[in-house]
């Protein structure tokens, strides 16, 4: 892998100062920073070939459409999907999950049917299913987690029933950083004929994701969490499902023929891409994926494991730090509380030291309830973070403890 110094130089924002202190950005779980190549790519769209895709007869539209479709191919290859038709551009993970919860629910879910989720889910993988279940008279079944933040596999097995229609589970807990054994879960689900949606919002940027290897039926992720622009995301779905499902939204480009009597839909992937898509975002995402590939995903994984261990050691050594999510299999996220100190107080002081963390429930209230807490401080790291930055966090935490004791 490139040296950490060179990598950091690719991200202009990392040179910023906040309150006159060098920025230590540990909020990558919320959104990642963008390398210059991505910023330039989006800029290039608007300065050189901005034009609506799939519509024009002119050169600019051809160029924009071509670049957009190239980005689709990059996504396909990045997650190792079988076909480009299986890659749908959306506005983000939330939109991807909502569209499946709606379409799948409309087509396959009825009264007293069941949907299995885990206790680790982000609200974006709870609420859309809950809304659908309310409409259909179906029920949610929740896989519990243990004290380390791992899902309880035996309990999962017990929840599977002849009424289970779909399982929607996160690849990695956004609040705790704990990985979920999705491959094993999918195996069992498929043996019972149940499809699985994987929420990859926190998984895509820290793992080598192979949707065919994983054999998930649906996979959702956001561009902005993998160094790409905001407002662009991906829904992967196996072709057999996407062919069967009704579209989520109607509009331009997703249709083949429209009369007031009847509309026929366009072929995949366009059937699920109604209206003008965020083509600039899609193109930027393609470049972000190129960038990640250029660093090497295995190399990234290696480095991130190293900084996770380092950070865990530094924080564990400080008296009064309690880490939530102590499983072995984790991405570089440390969720913690300082003895008797409110997470908001901790976050406020760290902020003034130039350290960006997230505090609160992390849109995963059921996880906080499980541990009987109202929130945590979350330091979420990635490949451009350094051990020196972790040391700064360690010192910052010591200062917080001193201030509030």
């Amino acid at each position: 892998m490139k040296s950490i110094k060179d990598i950091r130089a690719d991200f202009p924002i990392l040179e910023s100062k906040v309150y006159n202190k060098p920025l230590v950005y540990f909020d990558n779980g919320a959104t990642t920073q963008k390398p210059k190549v991505v910023i330039d790519a989006v800029n290039e769209v608007f300065t050189s070939f901005n034009s609506n895709i799939h519509r024009g007869v002119h050169a600019l539209s051809d160029k924009a459409s071509e670049e957009y479709e190239k980005a689709r191919e990059k996504v396909r290859s990045f997650i190792n999907a079988g076909k480009r038709e299986e890659i749908i551009f959306t506005s983000g993970t939330t939109a991807s999950i909502n569209s499946i919860a709606f379409s799948f629910g409309e087509r396959y879910i009825g009264k007293d049917d069941e949907v299995i989720l885990s206790r680790l889910e982000h609200h974006a993988n709870i609420v859309p299913w809950q809304m659908m279940c309310d409409r259909k008279g179906a029920k949610l079944k929740i896989i519990p987690i243990n004290d380390s933040g791992e899902i309880m596999f035996d309990e999962y097995l017990k929840l599977l029933s002849p009424r289970t229609r779909i399982i929607a589970v996160t690849q990695v807990s956004n609040a705790l950083g704990v990985k979920v054994p999705v491959n094993k879960m999918i195996d069992v689900a498929h043996k019972n004929g149940i499809p699985v949606l994987v929420d990859g919002a926190q998984g895509i940027q820290h793992d080598v994701v192979d949707v065919q290897g994983m054999d998930c039926d649906f996979y959702a992720f956001s561009g902005h969490k993998i160094y790409g622009p905001t407002g662009i995301g991906i829904l992967y779905g196996k072709e057999k499902w996407l062919d069967e499902l009704p579209p989520y939204q109607g509009g331009g480009d997703m249709v083949a023929n429209v009369t007031f009597e009847k509309t026929t839909f366009n072929t995949l992937p366009f059937k699920f891409e109604a209206g003008t898509m965020n083509f600039a975002g899609a193109i930027g995402l393609g470049i972000a994926l190129d960038y990640v590939e250029s660093l090497g995903r295995e190399e990234i994984d290696e480095y991130e494991k190293d900084i996770l261990v380092y950070a865990t050691n530094i924080l564990s050594d400080i008296k009064g730090v309690k880490i939530y999510g102590t499983a072995c299999e984790k991405i570089p996220i440390i969720s913690f509380l300082l003895n008797g100190i409110h997470q908001y107080d901790t976050g406020m002081v760290l902020d003034k030291l130039g350290i960006a963390v997230r505090t609160g429930t992390h849109c995963a209230q059921p996880v906080m309830d499980r541990f009987g807490i109202e929130g945590t401080v979350r330091a979420s790291m990635c490949f451009y973070n350094t051990k020196e930055e972790i040391d700064i966090l360690g010192k910052g935490i010591e200062q917080v403890i001193k201030m509030f004791s």
């Binding site: 409110h342 908001y344 505090t359 609160g360 429930t361 201030m403 509030f404």
Partner: protein, 149 residues
């Protein structure tokens, strides 16, 4: 002291400090000195929910004067709560309704009162004014919103 004089005084106290940590230390101390809210008022009825921190606010009207007591689960928030109490408690409904809280800007805490912070403070100010309006509208000079004295 009027509302503005109290704000002036607070701004002066904070002007001694340039460093954020000193400002926070002062807020923490002020939070610690804030008189406790009667536990019977630390209920859902008096809770102002924010997703970052919570604030409890209880008003009482006696002889045309509103006395607020308040608390927060986060200490820095509690410090700002203490400042708001110092400025707006013990005043008439009219004084509270017409008050403009500019001290927040002066001491550099504006970001703590942004709607996106969701720490309960912005709602607390709104709630203090709403209580003042409600008291003004009722003719009963010794009631509190729960009817208790």
């Amino acid at each position: 002291m009027t509302v503005n004089e109290t704000q002036e005084k607070i701004a002066e106290e904070f002007s001694e400090f340039d460093d954020w940590m000193d400002k926070y230390n002062l807020l923490i101390d002020m939070g610690k000195d804030l008189p406790a809210v009667d536990p019977k008022y630390k209920t859902k009825d008096f809770l102002i929910e924010g997703c970052q921190s919570k604030v409890w606010l209880h008003p009482e009207l006696n002889n045309g004067i509103i006395t607020f007591s308040a608390d927060s689960d986060a200490l820095i928030t509690r410090g700002i709560v203490a400042l708001l109490i110092r400025i707006l408690s013990g005043r008439t409904p009219d004084e509270i309704i017409s008050s403009e809280l500019w001290f927040i800007d002066r001491i550099g805490l504006r970001q703590n009162l942004s709607p996106t912070r969701s720490n309960g403070l912005l709602s607390m100010i709104r709630q203090m004014k709403l209580y003042a309006m409600a008291f003004k509208a009722t003719s009963d000079k010794t009631s509190s919103p729960t009817g208790k004295r």
